[in-house]
């Protein structure tokens, strides 16, 4: 048992840190740290910077433009880029679709789509959830009917994150009506410029437009855009969800958020002394720190198991649940730390261009809205209830 980083790993960290220090645009880091809104261009420019370095998709095989980093290196990379204030790599193409393409796509699909992800030509979004199928994903009803070399797709997807930026969507569609619901699903790649597609915003409780509904009305999709076999899409969907789950824990982001929380708690006063010295509050922060310290190792155990060829399985579900709970707890504490100053919400001040000033301490403006926004973490990516079902199932219950 050896938990220490090797010398090579420390050298790797130094390399990544040096790159980040010179490469993350300072205005971008300021936006990220201030909780401001990021534009599509912000994301694209950061992706381009990483892509030029060959680091946009570290987990991909080298032949497709990835790296040969092992999971520990990938974790170090993530830690460093979060530390540098870089925004999260938009996951839909890089960490969700690409693994599916690489494992189940045709050579043609790989050659076409993977480079376009790396060079920023395509922005992908995810077409999984539907209004009637939340946790029960397999009950989806968007239909794809074969018509010669095309499918005709009709139906509705929802919770499509950043779908308003996307030009491509990967979709689960129903290609067979009878039999078990899981056995009639196919996985399609759809150009959003195809006639019959409409994207409508969903405004969330924090007042933000992040997710969308996507409507399909007789949308024609070439059969060549199907990944893998017809009616086998459920297999690919589950493969993708497994990848999503380990990623969601987001240890590096949680570490950063905890560090922010502590600096807020050092600045906020209670009874004339820094809040961080208040025993009740200090003990809550300490508990979260302990849990995150453990989760980092839980995550490493899953990662190293994966490196050694074992499937993460139940660990992925545990990580999803605990990781999201810890992340939510940090945002909960950040909100509490601000006291009454958690209330003001000047949304204009979140727009990068705006000269409207926020109210209260630096960075306070977005804290409560983020607390509400992060409620989504225990809902999406297979809700925490679904994960608990999976854990029970894996025990044979």
């Amino acid at each position: 048992m050896d938990l220490n980083y090797s010398e090579e790993e420390n050298a790797f960290r130094a390399e990544v840190r040096a790159f980040m220090e010179t490469s993350v645009p300072s205005d971008l880091a300021a936006k990220v740290r201030g909780g401001k809104r990021l534009s599509k261009a912000d994301h694209e420019s950061w992706h381009a910077i990483l892509s030029r370095q060959g680091w946009l998709a570290p987990a991909w095989p080298v032949e497709y433009g990835g790296t040969d980093w092992d999971p520990v290196q990938r974790y170090i990379f993530e830690e460093e880029y979060v530390r540098a204030g870089a925004p999260r790599i938009v996951p839909f193409a890089v960490t969700m679709l690409a693994p599916v393409l690489i494992k189940f796509g045709t050579e043609e699909q790989k050659q076409r789509y993977l480079p376009r992800i790396l060079d920023g030509s395509d922005w992908w979004c995810q077409g999984y959830s539907e209004p009637g199928s939340g946790s029960d994903l397999a009950s989806l009803r968007t239909r794809a009917v074969r018509d010669g070399d095309e499918y005709i797709v009709t139906g509705q997807k929802t919770w499509t994150t950043l779908g308003h930026h996307a030009n491509m969507i990967f979709c689960l569609v129903r290609t067979k009506q009878d039999g078990k619901p899981q056995e009639g699903i196919s996985f399609l790649l759809i150009d959003m410029a195809t006639p019959g597609i409409e994207v409508r915003p969903i405004i969330t409780i924090d007042g933000e437009h992040e997710v969308n509904e996507v409507f399909f009305d007789d949308v024609r999709v070439p059969v060549a855009n199907r990944v893998g076999e017809e009616n086998k899409g459920w297999t690919y969907a589950k493969y993708l969800l497994g990848h999503e789950r380990t990623g969601i824990a987001g240890i590096a982001f949680a570490t950063q958020a905890l560090s922010n929380l502590k600096s807020v708690a050092r600045r906020q006063m209670k009874g004339g002394r820094p809040l961080i010295e208040d025993p009740l509050f200090a003990s809550r922060i300490a508990m979260t720190e302990i849990e995150l310290d453990a989760l980092r190792t839980t995550s490493m155990r899953a990662i190293v198991a994966a490196r050694d060829g074992n499937s993460p399985g139940i660990e992925a579900s545990m990580l999803k649940v605990k990781g999201t709970l810890i992340r939510q707890e940090i945002s909960n504490l950040a909100r509490k730390a601000l006291g009454p100053m958690a209330m003001p919400y000047v949304t204009e001040a979140l727009d990068p261009g705006s000269n409207v000033e926020a109210v209260g301490p630096e960075g306070a403006n977005a804290v409560s809205s983020q607390y509400f926004n992060l409620r989504k973490m225990s809902i999406y990516g297979g809700s925490n209830e679904i994960q608990r079902n999976l854990i029970a199932k894996s025990l044979g219950l």
Partner: protein, 379 residues
Amino acid sequence: MDFEHTEERKLLAEMVRRYIADNYDLNGRHTAAALPEGFSRERWQAFAELGLIGALFPESAGGYGGAGADIAVLFEELGRGLVVEPFLAALLAGTVLAETRSDCPQLAGLIAEETILALAHEEADSRYDLARVTTEAKHNPDGSGWVISGAKSVVLAGDSADWLIVSARISGEVTQEAGIGLFLIPANADGLSIRGYPTVDGMHAAEIALEAVTVDADALLAGEGSGYAMLERAIGAGLLALSAEALGAMDVSADLTVEYFKTRSQFGKTIGSFQALQHRLADVLIEISQTRSSLINAASRFGSDDRQEREWALSAVKVCAGRNGQMVAEEVIQMHGGIGMTWDYAVGHYAKRLVMIDHMLGDADHHLLRVANLSKGGE
């Protein structure tokens, strides 16, 4: 022992509930919240005409209520309706006036909805500590009154108020109870600057700076010896009101969830048939019931002359409102799933209000330790 409200109060509650049901849907709320003042003057007038503002104050102050049960009954309905109009500001400021200058035109104007009043007390670093006041009031060198300087934070309805009641330190150390005065100041006074803004739950508040604001001697409502007690009285009414509002919001949140449980299906059955969700909902209902009991206790002890008994109960119910409000908020969103996260559906707005109530007039941690301190004398 009797847990029934009087007929009058039942009628009041019934009337408010009907008015809100008929006139105050979620879209109406959004529209009102988006107005420059963060509420609708028209609705405020309608509420006043229904007598709701008068219900907050005793007859001696021109109202017809003012008991704990009056406040609790009314605010529970306001919580159910997610009402954005400035009732809480009216209660806080009006309570001070009712106890110090019950015949003043500002109070009459408040009850008649013509005047908006706000209590400007909290400061950036006071964090719920009632006695921590750094805003200073000095005798005007010309002998004619007072000069007040300092800053007030998150003043509810501070940007729409015609008059402010401002706490300021006349003497003593920064955390001392004695030495705090309360001043009635017109919002358009020279040296006052007010920045209004929306809060995350769709209400409005303001940051207020006072730079050498001069007022007459009769602006002093309560002086060094009585200012703190008066504040405690007003904040106490606010604690009761906010807790009642939270209870109303919890009740509706739970009802919406039960409804959703019966209609939404997953895996071929209604989600309400999943035992894990049933049990969590049961726990939610238990905590709501406990909050109701705590509110009954606080409303009943609100009129008590025994300060320890009264303040214990007021802090206790605020702890329940804060803790249970957060639990209800988080659970109902989770039990709804994605739909609960959307602007167009009500639960998210109830959740925001519930969570923000914990940030007002002292959070659960603050009041928990206050309960512990107030308990010390007892068994």
